[in-house]
């Protein structure tokens, strides 16, 4: 069997390699832009000298390999140059927008866990009963609704029935923390909905699978109550697979929140990304893309390590 340290080192090497390939992919994407990048960014109206200036400023006159290495070094020091459109450092722009995106992701993840866990446990108690079937059908339907469509439907519902939640007013966390949470609730719920369905589905089948295991029968014959078996044995065993699912869900939530921000007019990373796309602000765009991918890679890495700690058998594979 592979040792804990060996596994950790192997995974870390894999992490660094993946990050390198990710950075190469991002760099390549912005290097194969048809035509002259500086010309594309400035548009057809710019004069030749302006284009020349930008080329020199962005270092486009240097060879490809040098540009890649400089860019990579700037990423590692969290200072990937200046945004062309905003004239502010990319790191600062991203940091400004983070509270929205992170807040939404965290709230959505909490919603996924507190809604899907109890439902999955209840559903798995007696599979095939009416309640279980209703949950499964609703789960399928929710899974098929894109987050931004769910947002629109929620606005429709919340607006006409409750008129409780104001849509489109963002409150900074430093001004009013409760207000900040409140304005993120509805968008987070929209992002969370399909993932609640996904997490429910996986947990339910994993609990049902665990319940047929020998150790459950043994515990039962030893006189343990169903609840105790569930909490002490079944849930910890299904947790291992849910660690992986959770990391997938988190990365999906991150992607989903990029669009949902747009529906609710929230100043998060998604809107920054879109404005970078429409203004052809490639330094900003490549920064956002790389760091988002970086977070995802890190999530998968942490989930791999966490599952190997929870279940040492994984290291054998």
């Amino acid at each position: 069997m592979q040792s804990k340290a060996g596994y950790l080192i192997g995974k870390t090497v894999e992490l660094i390699l993946t990050l390198l390939v990710v950075s190469l992919l991002v760099f390549a994407a912005f290097s194969i832009i048809p035509g002259d990048t500086a010309r594309v960014m400035l548009g057809p109206d710019a004069s030749e000298s302006q284009v020349e200036l930008l080329r020199a400023e962005m270092g486009l006159d240097k060879p490809l390999a040098t540009r890649y290495l400089t860019w990579l070094a700037s990423l590692i020091t969290f200072d990937p140059g200046k945004s062309y459109a905003y004239n502010v450092s990319v790191g600062e722009l991203i940091a400004q927008r983070l509270p929205v995106t992170i807040g939404m992701s965290v709230i959505a993840m909490i919603m996924v866990i507190i809604i899907s866990y109890p439902l999955a446990v209840l559903s798995a108690r007696k599979p095939g009963r009416l309640g279980d079937q209703v949950c499964s059908v609703i789960g399928h339907v929710l899974f098929a609704i894109p987050p931004y469509v769910a947002s629109l439907l929620l606005i429709l519902l919340a607006g006409s029935i409750f008129s409780l939640l104001t849509v489109g007013n963002y409150v900074r966390p430093s001004d009013d923390f409760a207000g900040y949470i409140a304005c993120l609730l509805l968008p987070s719920f929209a992002v969370a909905l399909p993932k609640i369905a996904m997490s429910f589905k996986f947990l339910r089948s994993s609990i049902i699978e665990q319940k047929t295991a020998d150790y459950v029968r043994t515990s039962k014959s030893h006189g343990l109550s169903d609840l105790k078996i569930l909490i002490r044995h079944v849930l910890p065993n299904s947790n291992v697979s849910s660690i992986t699912i959770i990391s997938i869900i988190l990365s999906d939530i991150l992607g989903g929140s990029l669009i949902v921000e747009q529906v609710f007019n929230l100043p998060g990373l998604g809107r920054l990304l879109l404005s970078a796309i429409s203004r052809r602000d490639f330094p900003l765009l490549s920064g956002i893309v790389f760091y988002l991918a970086f977070v995802t890679v890190l999530l998968y890495f942490i989930s791999d390590i966490a599952s190997s700690l929870a279940d040492p058998r994984i290291r054998l594979k």
């Binding site: 894109p146 629109l152 992607g255 893309v289 991918a293």
Partner: protein, 280 residues
């Protein structure tokens, strides 16, 4: 008799329910699409200043939008892009994915490692991000959306093919073929690929659904299908300003979109159930 029941056409009731529900939902969208090829109640982009924002009525069953365009006609013609982009994108993803996944699984070693590293790296981008970047770099058009989504989805198929190939290549008939001197290319295309189809089929159906999710999101952001062509995502984006006064502008495109995606999910669930139960 029990053994007679287990003939080739046996399907579990659960799978049948999924197939029926899926085909009905999918059928609604596909029929709307087929009819739209020949006839729509009004021209999808014909504006009518005298009938702006009409609620659903006999003349306009799905109502009209802020330009007086008939929503039913627009929904019907929008289904064209949804169906076309998802099929074309999945075809690209399928071709790229099998071309990378089968050799990776068959040869193993360094080639496998390299392909899987690239694969995993692509999968690290939160879904829609890569597609958005591709469109940002190459411009928003239907062709670019198809290529971008095809690239983003290729790793999923590559993964399925790789795992399947690794299992199949250990089987006796592959060893026999190898011993008899059949070339690797022939083994992969004629002996391995056909046996991957049962795994690729559900992945393809799910891929169609996920691709539609992405495409509609991109169109919603204005980076997918470009106006004046109608697409569900763009219709929903335009309708947002009228969400209070004209909810039908949201509801009907949303319903059609969800019908298409849900129909595909149901069919893939049916496939999963019948394949996992060994239902032949």
């Amino acid at each position: 008799m029990a053994s007679a029941k287990r003939n080739k056409t046996y399907r579990s009731p659960e799978a049948s329910a999924f197939y029926t529900a899926g085909l009905i939902l999918l059928g609604i969208v596909v029929i709307a699409f087929i009819i739209s090829l020949f006839w729509t109640p009004f021209a999808p982009d014909a504006t009518d200043a005298s009938s702006k924002l009409l609620a659903p009525c006999l003349r306009h069953p799905f109502g009209t939008d802020n330009f007086g365009r008939d929503v039913l006609s627009r929904v019907m013609s929008a289904s064209k892009y949804t169906i076309f982009i998802s099929i074309a994108g999945v075809a690209i993803a399928l071709i790229l994915g099998t071309a990378a996944g089968i050799p990776a699984g068959y040869y193993g070693g360094l080639a496998d490692r390299g392909i899987m590293l690239l694969n995993n790296s692509i999968m690290c981008f939160p879904g829609i991000l890569l597609a958005l970047v591709a469109v940002a770099v190459f411009g928003a058009s239907v062709t670019n959306v198809i290529w971008a989504l095809g690239l983003v989805f290729a790793p999923t198929f590559a993964r399925v093919c790789r795992v399947g190939t690794m299992e199949i290549k250990e089987l006796d008939y592959i060893t026999h073929a190898r011993v008899m001197g059949v070339r690797p290319g022939r083994i992969m295309t004629l002996h391995i690929f056909p046996n991957l189809i049962p795994q690729l089929l559900p992945a393809t159906v799910i891929g169609l659904a996920n691709m539609t999710l992405f495409e509609s999101g991109m169109s919603y952001l204005g980076l997918g299908v470009q106006p004046p062509d109608a697409s569900f995502g763009k219709m929903l984006a335009d309708a947002q300003a009228y969400i209070r006064v004209a909810p039908w502008l949201i509801i009907f495109p949303a319903l059609m979109l969800v019908f298409y995606i849900l129909g595909l999910y149901f069919i893939s669930e049916g496939l999963r159930v019948s394949l996992s139960k060994g239902g032949k």
